[in-house]
């Protein structure tokens, strides 16, 4: 089996798997990073969203070969309980979730948004999340949490 090299959460990794393997399966089954969740396998629900070279991508639809040499960021790379990303802190502060299955993908989509637009409007946040399905109806809290995180990050940047 040929090995494919990529960078996951800042660490170079080499994965000996079929180059057609979906990135999602590589993350979950080959690298043990289960925080990226399977939702549909058809790039329709956003549960498996990761950053590839800074852009949000559905990892279920990205072949391993297509991310060779690229930098992938998953939810595990965003922050930890000891050092949470402002988005993660804001989601906890706003209690933004119910079942929480969609949250990994939503947090990644939100990070991609705030990385390019530090001051999004409510409408821009919602539009950026339209590829992410939340079935429990946590939307109002999620939107509030992202606004809160954006504020935290702007204040952090201003200090």
């Amino acid at each position: 089996m040929p090995a494919t090299s990529l960078i996951v959460n800042g660490n170079p990794v080499s994965v000996a798997a079929d180059p057609d393997t979906p990135l999602l399966d590589v993350l979950r089954n080959h690298l043990g990073l289960v925080g990226t969740r399977f939702g549909c396998g058809a790039e329709q629900c956003g549960s498996c969203t990761v950053l590839v070279d800074g852009e949000p991508e559905k990892s279920c639809g990205k072949a391993l070969s297509s991310v060779a040499g690229k930098a992938v960021v998953t939810i595990e790379g965003m922050g930890t309980p000891d050092k949470p990303h402002p988005l993660q802190q804001a989601f906890l502060d706003e209690q933004a979730g119910q079942c929480g299955y969609c949250l990994s993908g939503i947090l990644i989509s939100a990070k991609a948004l705030l990385d390019r637009n530090p001051s999004p409007s409510r409408g821009q946040i919602a539009a950026a999340l339209d590829d992410n399905i939340c079935r429990c109806g946590s939307h109002p809290r999620i939107l509030r949490a992202i606004e809160r995180a954006a504020l935290l990050m702007r204040e952090g940047a201003a200090r």
């Binding site: 289960v34 979730g97 079942c99 939307h139 109002p140 999620i142």
Partner: protein
């Protein structure tokens, strides 16, 4: 059974089934209730901490495990706090009391002078040196609860009534292994099922060579009767094979169904089991005015954000199953029947999954894994359904027709009211082996479950069919449809969603006819003080103004119900803009759920119910073709998107009270759907009576008007 105890404590009367002190400083609290996204674990922790007088951090919750937790049946019907929490509260109060009694008698304190502070026994506020852990060996909790321990009044609550942070949220925000989907075991095989297209279908031919051609890594095909599975160590391979395999299996006994059955009115022509509950047949005065209107909705999918998943391992004659089932004990019983195993040889353990909102594919996936595990002893088997499998084979919420008939008095108020309901079954959870897809596919399948369903309150299809309003005579006429084109079962709200939509739409139609404001009209026939309070509150919250002219393209509507007529009260005002399609812009909700354990948790449930109901009202309906459910992805079964979510404001009424807690998880859905319907009618000046309120239906109504 001790009838003095609340039901779940009577079923599980030993105190050590609920509470134990296994190690210093820690309390083990067991609940049969399981986390399905509703925050129940957090609320149970608060309840136990409050009544035991320990800090919540000391509590280790044990949940949904047939070896370890009380049997509380299903986590369903908004009953976790109202029944499960109340049982736990009473058990904890009694345990606390036993320790204080013991301290009083053993050490010579006056009982009235003793109290508990974070697990330590205090005497007139001072330490006694004794605590739960030091006395645990002296007090045998393997005794039956008396049910007589006094519980704390709300005025003394320190933990209950304050918003608590969800105990399960961090694992989800940081991407930890939070779900059964994330379990991995050494030597685990992945499996997918080639589903029997419907009950009774038999395999005619399998093109095994074609199936194997799709496999890049070794796979095994396992067949028993009409149960066909693909197994392998490499999930990617198994998934790829499963995607093509259905095209290489030919079936007998698959008669086409009629796709027109996706709309509900076909129900009116079906044979049905008919029952009448409530007032005797109406004897309307000849001068009375009769009116009626009919409302429908399509089948609705649970559409959990991920497909179902389970793990099973059979070793040394014992089967362990990990599942996001809503009922570990009923699943265990169903598996025992299906597998012909002694129930004592089965353990079912709950692990969280995506929010389910009712009976989705979770139990079926668990049965799939269990069936395979007993055929692969010693090997952990993980089954994860495919997305199209979840949409195509989960039991959906049945299509329904609800017709309201009323006879009006001279003042335009109903003197006689009948809610007539046509629906398939809303409740077909797996019982003694029935209604598990794997069981139906194996040799010697169980008979089809009989089409039974209670019409009596709180009911399933008839749920909330009786309006809470003070009409002199009210009855429900229930037509239970035995044969439905697709498998149906419970979804959040069950029949209440359409019944509340029908009743509350009709109330608006009657108010309009009487020339009265919809809020005032409702209050004129509503004596229940708590019901009036939520209606009045939501009117205030939304700045409700009577007499705003309709037909302008924007509108507001109100609706009210008390879920099941015995759980939480909820009143909702919705604001919409209608051009060609409907946009819900704002929603206000006031709810009285009695004593609320975690206000933020309760509001989260109200909000979630509102968002889901906006989605039901505007977008959702299962599509059928001749083969069955054809809406098998998120494009053909669209749900609400972030940019379509309205501004939402929820308030709790009477949350700090000694009124018992009332289930709130399903309270806001029906009123939201109905409030949207009423707002759309206000905006259009024309009434839409068929859900969902799609662009096509709006255009049709405008053409007709």
């Amino acid at each position: 059974m001790n009838t003095a105890l609340p039901p779940l404590l009577a079923d599980n009367p030993r105190l050590d089934q609920w509470v134990a002190f296994p190690e210093p400083g820690r309390v083990r609290v067991s609940t049969g209730r399981v986390e399905i996204g509703q925050g129940v674990l957090t609320a149970m922790q608060q309840i136990a901490a409050e009544e035991l007088d320990v800090s919540p951090e000391r509590i280790r919750l044990q949940t949904g495990d047939t070896d370890l937790t009380p049997n509380e049946g299903y986590t369903a019907g908004s009953q976790s706090i109202q029944f499960g929490g109340v049982a736990l509260r009473l058990a904890c109060a009694e345990v606390r009391g036993l320790f204080l009694d013991h301290a009083a008698s053993a050490f010579g304190y006056a009982r009235a002078d003793l109290g508990m502070r974070d697990g330590a026994i205090i005497h007139r506020g001072a330490s006694t040196g004794h605590d739960y852990w030091s006395l645990a060996s002296a007090i045998d909790l393997a005794r039956h609860a008396s049910g007589r321990a006094p519980i704390k009044p709300a005025s003394e609550h320190q933990i209950v009534g304050r918003s608590a942070k969800r105990v399960d949220l961090a694992a989800k925000v940081f991407g930890g292994p939070a779900f059964v989907h994330d379990m991995a075991m050494d030597g685990m095989v992945h499996a997918r099922i080639v589903r029997q297209p419907r009950r009774g279908a038999t395999i005619k031919a399998i093109d095994e060579a074609a199936i194997r051609r799709a496999a890049k890594a070794p796979i095994e095909l396992l067949r028993d009767g009409n149960f066909l599975a693909i197994l392998g160590m490499d999930e990617t391979t198994v998934e790829a094979v499963a995607a093509v395999a259905p095209g290489h299996v030919a079936w007998d006994g698959v008669d086409p169904i009629n796709p027109a059955q996706e709309e509900a009115r076909w129900l009116l022509q079906q044979p049905s089991l008919d029952r009448v509950v409530g007032a005797p047949p109406g004897d309307a005065a000849p001068a009375a005015r009769r009116c009626e209107a009919s409302y429908t909705r399509m089948h609705i999918a649970h559409a959990s954000v991920a497909p179902s998943c389970a793990m099973a391992l059979y070793r040394d004659g014992h089967l362990e199953v990990w599942s996001h089932t809503q009922g570990v004990y009923p699943l265990k019983a169903a598996l025992a029947r299906t597998l012909k195993l002694d129930p004592a040889a089965i353990s079912v353990r709950h692990v969280q999954g995506p929010g389910c909102y009712g009976h989705n594919g979770a139990d079926d996936a668990a049965a799939d894994a269990a069936v395979l595990a007993v055929r692969k002893p010693g090997i952990p088997v993980r089954v994860r359904w495919r997305r199209e499998e979840e949409f195509g084979f989960e039991p959906v919420s049945p299509a329904m027709v609800t017709t309201v008939h009323a006879t009006l008095d001279a003042a335009g108020r109903p003197a006689d009211w009948t809610t007539e309901i046509w629906s398939g079954r809303h409740s077909s959870r797996p019982g003694g082996g029935g209604n598990l897809l794997a069981a139906e596919a194996l040799p010697d399948p169980p008979p089809a479950p009989p089409p039974t369903e209670s019409s009596n309150a709180p009911g399933a299809g008839t749920r909330n069919g009786e309006p809470l309003y003070d009409f002199p005579a009210k009855r429900i006429h229930h037509h239970l449809i035995a044969e439905t084109p697709v498998r149906t079962s419970s979804l959040r709200g069950l029949g209440a969603t359409l019944n509340v939509f029908a009743i509350e739409s009709f109330m608006d139609e009657l108010a309009l006819e009487a020339g009265e404001d919809p809020v005032a009209y409702r209050l004129s026939v509503l004596a229940d003080k708590r019901a009036r309070a939520v209606v009045e509150r939501v009117a205030r919250m939304s700045g409700w103004r009577p007499g705003v002219p309709g037909g302008t393209g924007s509108g507001r509507g109100i609706a009210f119900a008390r879920y099941k007529n015995l759980a939480a009260y909820a009143a909702v005002v919705a604001e919409v803009e209608v051009e060609e399609s409907v946009r819900v812009t704002r929603v206000w909700c006031a709810s009285d759920a009695g004593l609320v354990i975690s206000p933020d948790g309760a509001i989260n449930q109200l909000e979630g119910g509102i968002v889901q109901a906006v989605s039901w009202a505007l977008k959702e309906g299962v599509r059928l073709d001749t083969a069955g459910i054809s809406s098998r992805d998120w494009e053909s079964y669209p749900v609400i998107k972030f940019s379509e979510v309205p501004e939402i404001a929820c308030e709790l009424v009477g949350a700090v009270s000694d009124n018992p807690p009332l289930g709130i998880g399903e309270a806001s859905g029906g009123p939201t759907v109905a409030a949207i319907g009423n707002a759309v009618a206000h905006a259009l000046g024309a009434r839409l009576r068929d859900l969902p309120l799609t662009r096509e239906r709006v255009m049709a109504a405008l053409l007709k008007a």
